[in-house]
Symmetry: C2
């Protein structure tokens, strides 16, 4: 029943948006009563918490699927592409994980956020390899840089979601430019950055 409630919750959320997620709606979809929510989760916010944990897991799976290769800048670009692809594929879940969406009063705990921070290990390692490979400056600070990149990726994902990135330059164009400029500012030659970004974003699922 627990599994079934979570599955229905994910389905209702993706099909009907955050407003459609209610205890009574869930009970109807799962062919049970609202009590099932309280025996298995305790409250609706706790059910949402379970949803976020699965969301973090799926996010981590995508990120870990990025293969290590001999061009760390391309690898970093691919990680960014995966980030955007996840944000688009699971808009409403992403909004809860990183966008501050409360969704029935649920708010992230420090422990929840730790799961999000844990994902940053991968881009930070990629940045370290960029430094080791001589692409980024030797005195660059991976911890600071990964935070900057995190802000850029989240800002892009959410502004796109909310509808602010319409017009001349779409989100894909902005994404490529941001990664390119990020690498250049970190020390990568412009031509090399252009090549690696194209290679990284071309690999795997396009965020489009």
């Amino acid at each position: 029943m627990r599994r079934r409630l979570l599955n229905e919750a994910a389905r209702v959320l993706s099909e009907g948006g955050p407003a459609a997620l209610s205890a009574r709606r869930l009970a109807k979809e799962a062919e049970t009563s609202t009590m099932a929510v309280y025996t298995h989760f305790g409250s609706m916010p706790e059910l949402v918490r379970a949803l976020t944990r699965e969301g973090f897991d799926r996010f981590l799976v995508r990120v870990e699927a990025v293969a290590r290769n001999d061009d760390p800048v391309a690898e970093l670009a691919e990680l960014c592409g995966v980030y955007q692809a996840f944000a688009r594929a699971e808009r409403d879940v992403y909004a809860v994980l990183f966008g501050g969406s409360t969704l029935l009063g649920f708010t992230l705990t420090d422990e929840d956020r730790a799961m999000g921070v844990a994902v940053l290990r991968h881009p930070r390692d990629a940045i370290r390899r960029c430094i080791a490979a001589g692409r980024f400056r030797r005195d660059a600070d991976p911890d600071l840089l990964v935070r900057q990149l995190f802000c850029q990726m989240h800002g892009l994902a959410q502004l796109d979601h909310v509808g602010y990135l319409v017009g001349a330059h779409g989100p894909d164009r902005v994404l490529a430019a941001m990664i390119h400029d990020f690498a250049v500012a970190a020390g990568d030659p412009a031509a090399a950055a252009t090549r690696s970004v194209a290679a990284g974003l071309g690999r795997g699922d396009s965020p489009a």
Copy 2:
């Protein structure tokens, strides 16, 4: 009454957060009945819309208060500082303006978003002056760059709000680094960028 309801709404929102904003609570605070909301606004979402319009206005006032000076990169940095200061001063309003917060079912219309996009005119003009002054590359695209900067500013503001920017490097450090790297990638020499960012963020209200 209309004014009074809006004032009380802004107060309740800032004091009690989004969850505290309800028609009955508003009616009690403004010493009237819930009907007042419907005669003056039609619905609660429409009242929220009125709140957002005032939010956009206050945002624009802050941005327009940034004085033009002979260092366009510093001016750009100051604009970024003002952006962060506004996001922190009016967290919940900002979350509705740019963060996709629904707040009683309200969602932005294209017209609403146009008010947000209008604010971007100022940083875009600053970027143009950076190009004209020879600080940024002559072939830089202001429209693309301002979108990149927008993403960075929003990502920083919201990740800070949600609580993801704790630890070694706080939001102020990340902000300075992002603007610096943004300028460097656009063509500004690192030393000049460092100086201008320090000057721009030092001016006016600190985002801290």
